[in-house]
């Protein structure tokens, strides 16, 4: 066994390396940024800029460490910078740290692992009591306004908010039990 490359093999270019890494970590980065930023219009810009900064700094990446964590570190700073320019507050350092802890627990550091963990989320959704899984479907899949949901279910908007929050709490507990959330 030798480590020498065959003559026809070449080192992948930085661009190629970056494309592989970007594809592997895009989903996870986007989830992280959504948790930090939450403003939908800003998430897209922050994602794009984070990736661009990562590309420019790729040579600085320490390959012995997690690329996903490095990317999220850049994402945090970019998010803060964007929020500052819009005079918004996204999260304080403690909040960022705790979101990062959840990300680390969820981080498989490659795309396949991310999809596996999303499968765990599917399992947890299936285990929700009907009222709550119905709420998840209406809010996240159908993206119905809370007011519409409230009217259809003969609930107040406040009750709808509480129910969806409870659904998320149950999902969080389920994901923790399965070891994919801090």
């Amino acid at each position: 066994m030798t480590n020498q490359r065959a003559p026809h093999q070449r080192e992948p270019s930085a661009h190629e390396v970056f494309e592989v890494l970007a594809r592997d970590h895009a989903d996870h980065l986007l989830v992280f940024l959504r948790a930090v930023v939450r403003d939908r219009s800003m998430v897209d810009d922050v994602f794009q800029e984070t990736m661009m900064v990562a590309w420019r700094r790729l040579a600085d990446f320490d390959r012995t460490r997690s690329f996903g964590a490095w990317l999220r570190g850049i994402g945090s700073r970019v998010a803060m910078d964007f929020a500052g320019r819009r005079r918004m507050i996204v999260a304080d350092p403690t909040m960022l740290q705790e979101i990062e802890e959840h990300s680390v627990a969820f981080d498989g550091d490659h795309a396949q692992a991310f999809q596996t963990r999303m499968g765990t989320l599917d399992d947890c959704i299936e285990r929700l009591p009907t009222d709550y899984s119905q709420m998840v479907q209406m809010v996240y899949r159908a993206e119905l306004p809370l007011r519409t949901i409230a009217v259809n279910l003969a609930l107040t908007e406040e009750a709808v908010k509480k129910r969806i929050q409870r659904a998320r709490a149950l999902l969080g507990e389920c994901l923790q039990r399965k070891g994919v959330l801090a």
Binding site: H15, F18, E19, A26, D27, L30, V31, F32, R34, A35, V36, R38, D39, R40, S41, M42, D44, D45, Q48, M52, V53, W55, R56, R57, I74, R77, V78, D81, R85, M88, I89, V90, D92, T94, M95, E98, I99, E101, H102, S103, F106, M118, L121, D122, V136, V139, Y140, R141, E143, P145, I164, Q165, R168, A169, L171, G172, L175, Q176, L181, A182
Partner: protein, 377 residues
């Protein structure tokens, strides 16, 4: 397990915020983000995101080696982008507007700007009065600035295409070395004026600045003009990739421009400088091991470069005369660092276009009484 509950959310009533109304517990936010991702993103949408990034990377690489050529042939494209900015504001199109504005500003057209410099507060907390000036420009070789001091005194400096000249407050006038470069920073008793062609200032706003269209530029007010903000980003890469020379030329941390969308002319430009005083060690800038500086703080030009003088350290010479330089003349007419070393630039400088549209043909010439300056022995 983190269970902190805080009220740190985005601004309320934000239509872009998730309607799911996640609370401010990190875990709740994270699960909300997972659910949003699960139900809104598809393989195709993620591919599209990545492809957008890769196209931008490709574009950046190409731009790095062909920027000069690009600027020539792509100007019509930049103009089109400027128009599209009105309906679809993006960072890149805002940059195109600035490039287009730089092109317009580089044309040989007479124009005048009112300049207001706000000096930094002195160390004792006293705020010096603003310095007022009028900057007349025909092109980068024909400029004339009239600096209005207190008690009605004025000082005029000009460049006529071949020589630079100065008319002092006492009325005497001198012609400097013919190859004396136009001083970008004009020293005054109360501070320094950044004086340059609008085109040169705009050309400094390249990739090292984040250029975006905004709706709330302090400099523009409710004018209906296109409002562009260039911010020096606080990110490590931006700091690392910015040359010291560029920072010396233009150390502003934020520049706000009000641009006429029809003509791409800069109607008003205001530069805001960082509040910190000390220059970075040996004038070098680079990535900071502890991450970006808060607020994008940046030091003033390093020692040995032309830069603003120390605030409050220079007083007007008796009778307005300048004495010989203590350190003798500079090769090529360069100014050395002000005595006592450089301090930070002023708080802000604004340039506002006036209605003046033409100057007499000899407006930029040296005064008739101007004499050749004899360097001190």
């Amino acid at each position: 397990m983190p269970t902190t509950q805080r009220s740190l959310g985005m601004m309320s009533n934000n239509p872009n915020q998730s309607e799911s109304n996640s609370n401010d517990a990190p875990e709740d936010r994270f699960v909300d983000a997972l659910l949003t991702h699960k139900f809104t993103e598809t393989t195709e949408s993620m591919d599209a995101r990545i492809n957008r990034v890769l196209r931008a990377v490709e574009s950046q690489n190409n731009r790095n080696y062909s920027i000069r050529k690009w600027q020539w042939w792509a100007l019509p494209i930049a103009a089109l982008l400027a128009i599209s900015l009105l309906v679809m504001p993006t960072t890149s199109s805002a940059s195109a507007v600035v490039r287009s504005a730089a092109k317009v500003a580089s044309k040989s057209v007479d124009r005048q700007y009112q300049v207001v410099l706000m000096p930094k507060a002195r160390r004792d907390g006293e705020q010096p009065p603003p310095i007022l000036a009028t900057l007349d420009v025909r092109d980068s070789q024909h400029m004339r600035i009239t600096i209005h001091y207190q008690r009605g005194r004025t000082e005029i400096r000009g460049r006529d295409g071949e020589t630079s000249w100065e008319q002092r407050p006492d009325g005497s006038a001198v012609i400097a070395d013919h190859d004396l470069p136009w001083p970008r920073w004009v020293e005054t008793p109360d501070g320094s004026l950044l004086v340059d062609s609008m085109a040169a200032m705009l050309e400094d706003l390249d990739d090292s600045y984040d250029i975006v269209k905004v709706d709330d530029a302090e400099a523009c007010g409710q004018t209906g003009l296109l409002q562009i903000r260039a911010s020096f980003p606080t990110s490590e890469p931006a700091l690392a990739n910015t040359s010291n020379e560029k920072v010396r030329r233009n150390p502003a941390e934020r520049i706000e421009m009000c641009i006429d969308p029809k003509t791409n002319e800069v109607i008003r430009l205001e530069m805001f400088f960082p509040s910190n005083d000390g220059p970075p060690p040996d004038g070098q800038r680079g990535p900071r091991p502890d991450g970006p500086r808060a607020g994008g703080e940046r030091g003033p030009p390093p020692d040995g470069e032309r830069g603003p003088p120390p605030d409050g350290q220079r007083g007007p010479p008796p009778n307005g005369h300048r004495g010989p330089r203590p350190d003798g003349p500079r090769a090529g007419g360069e100014r050395g660092p002000p005595r006592g070393g450089p301090l930070g630039p002023p708080q802000s400088i604004s340039f506002e276009r006036t209605d003046t549209k033409s100057f007499p043909s000899n407006w930029f010439n040296a005064p008739a009484n101007a004499v050749e300056e004899i360097p001190p022995q």
